[in-house]
């Protein structure tokens, strides 16, 4: 090669290859922006490894999506960078209600990005619920709920043990008649994760305030069922008990 003048055609080809090759690597590196800038913090399915490990261990196949009986899991899109094809749960639209018991998504995961050491819903830690808008909370105002918690066009579903544990019911068709709203407590899949506490010593005072306890798994059921718009109670993604 040395000594021979380089054919201009070959040189142009090499330049083109370098340019397009770099363009491809550059395009792939765009994935860093959404991840490092935390553009879209996502509630990950039960058993998810710490975020960084989760993004690398996930093989982006969506088997967790396929097994979820309430179709709570969705896959990330291009605007999530390296989170493309990585599962998350949009809790307000469709929360995980743990009605599958054995945490199906964890069992389905082929890589352990959803860690296999979980076999009970109580062991899950996706985040923690927090009363975000105390002023809007119906229970704190002493107000009740008549009719569906989330009227149409809301499409989210929930599996009610007392109706049919295997058939999810559309929340928009399920009617409640509650003197004082206690939906976040009533539909919480974890025993004792949220309680309603009286707001004064007066027994005639119907007002109650939701209190989140350490056993909360952050599944997002309370966020989905909350009848105020937007939700009064929300899940803080990946927050642990005791975190600021």
């Amino acid at each position: 090669m040395s000594g021979k003048p380089i054919n201009p055609k070959t040189r142009r080809q090499v330049m083109r290859s370098l340019a397009l090759g770099s363009a491809m690597v550059g395009a792939s590196l765009f994935g860093f922006f959404p991840v490092l800038r935390k553009w879209a913090p996502r509630l990950r399915p039960p058993g998810a490894l710490p975020e960084r490990d989760f993004l690398s261990a996930c093989i982006k196949c969506g088997q967790c999506v396929q097994v979820c009986p309430v179709k709570a899991i969705q896959l990330g899109d291009l605007d999530e960078g390296f989170g493309v094809g990585v599962p998350y749960i949009p809790a307000r639209e469709q929360a995980c209600d743990f009605s599958c018991d054995a945490v199906q998504c964890v069992l389905a995961c082929p890589t352990g990005a959803l860690a296999h050491d979980i076999d009970k819903k109580e062991q899950v830690h996706m985040g923690l619920a927090r009363l975000d808008r105390p002023g809007a909370c119906l229970a704190r105002k002493g107000e009740g709920v008549k009719g569906p918690a989330r009227p149409a066009p809301f499409t989210g579903v929930h599996r009610y043990q007392e109706i049919d544990r295997w058939k999810p019911v559309r929340l928009a068709t399920y009617k409640y008649d509650l003197e004082v709203c206690d939906l976040c407590v009533r539909e919480c899949p974890i025993q004792g994760a949220i309680t309603l506490e009286p707001m004064s010593a007066d027994p005639a005072d119907r007002r109650r305030t939701p209190e989140v306890h350490q056993s909360c798994t952050g599944c997002g059921m309370c966020e989905m069922i909350c009848p105020t718009e937007p939700a009064s109670i929300v899940v803080d993604i990946r927050r642990k008990w005791g975190d600021a």
Binding site: Q13, V14, R16, S17, L20, G21, M24, V25, A27, S28, L29, F30, G31, F32, V35, R52, D53, L55, S56, A57, C58, I59, K60, C61, G62, Q63, V65, Q66, V67, Q74, L75, D77, L78, D79, G81, F82, V84, G85, A108, P110, T111, G112
Partner: protein, 320 residues
């Protein structure tokens, strides 16, 4: 030696004319030189043209669509025959994992995952048996889209609307190393975020999203500027499977005897460098196995007017 050469060519080296040729092949080359067969060649080509068939292409397209449809329908109707996407799946309960995706995950996560090892083991055996890059042309949904884009490109090129600006084939090898290093260093599966194979497979199964814009952009670029850019010069999945299928029993075999050396096969081929042996006097033997980079797509088999290119299952002919 032939294997080493075929790997070198796959990694980007230009194919070279073999230095040693078997006496039988030498005699055949010599005999062909003596015979002036242009009239006969024209007749053969005219006949082939009259009975033109796209047999292997049709079988292949049907297979590709069927495989992807099984994924889609299995989820739609919840029959749990095949769960997941092309990156990883369970086929009637058995773990299967795409070799390149599994490699990226292990490089990024740096943990040997037992389910992935099981999954890749099955898939490794399957694609070794069926011939590595067979995955590309018989399964990958992007391949089909790219074939359609290629048809448009060739149509426009024939009318001189567009021109193909080929890249150096070594680009894919360099990018392969770069993406592997990026996964190791960053700890993220960097390549997966732009992989059209994963994006299209998930779009088919779970519904399309913004990521399809990237794929459509790639296809548009291939139509206007670089014929089959992704599959030829970029895709690390192709190289992974190429390595797997380098010594596979299923391959395309070239037979020197009746070949007219007019290069119709090379014109339709995604990876024409593997068909270098079909050039006049280039075959080192009466029969030559086509190299590792071949996707076993069968376009050359359909295109060959003399039946000189055929699928072959190595070992089977000896058994029978």
């Amino acid at each position: 030696m032939a294997l080493l050469d075929s790997l070198k060519v796959m990694l980007g080296a230009a194919p070279v004319r073999p230095k040693t040729v078997t006496p039988a092949a030498q005699a055949m080359h010599e005999a062909k030189r003596q015979v002036k067969g242009t009239e006969r060649a024209r007749e053969i080509k005219a006949q082939h043209e009259a009975h033109k068939s796209n047999k292997w292409r049709n079988i292949r397209w049907a297979t590709l669509i069927a495989v992807n449809l099984v994924f889609v329908l299995s989820y739609r109707f919840d029959v749990q025959l095949v769960e997941g996407a092309l990156t990883a799946s369970r086929v009637v309960g058995f773990h299967m994992a795409d070799l390149n995706s599994a490699l990226q995950v292990m490089l990024a996560y740096k943990v040997i995952l037992i389910n992935l090892v099981i999954g890749t083991g099955t898939v490794l055996f399957m694609w070794w048996l069926l011939g590595g890059r067979t995955f590309c042309s018989w399964v990958c949904p992007y391949h089909l889209l790219a074939e359609i884009a290629e048809k448009i490109h060739l149509m426009l090129a024939a009318r001189r609307v567009v021109v193909d600006y080929p890249l150096h084939r070594g680009t894919r090898t360099v990018l392969y190393v770069v993406f592997a290093l990026l996964a190791v260093i960053s700890g993220y599966t960097v390549y997966e975020s732009i992989s059209p194979t994963g994006i299209v497979s998930r779009a088919l199964i779970y519904g399309p999203g913004l990521a399809m814009i990237w794929v459509l952009g790639l296809l548009a670029y291939e139509i206007v500027f670089v014929r089959r850019m992704w599959c030829r010069y970029i895709c690390p999945i192709g190289l992974t499977y190429g390595l797997v299928g380098a010594v596979s029993p299923v391959r395309v075999q070239y037979s020197l005897e009746n070949c007219l050396h007019e290069g119709d096969c090379r014109k339709v081929c995604l990876v024409p460098h593997v068909l270098d042996c079909t050039k006049k006097t280039y075959a080192e033997d009466l029969f030559v196995g086509i190299g590792a980079d071949c996707t076993r797509c069968g376009l050359c088999i359909d295109a060959c007017p003399t039946g000189s290119l055929k699928y072959q299952i190595r070992g089977l002919d000896k058994l029978l």
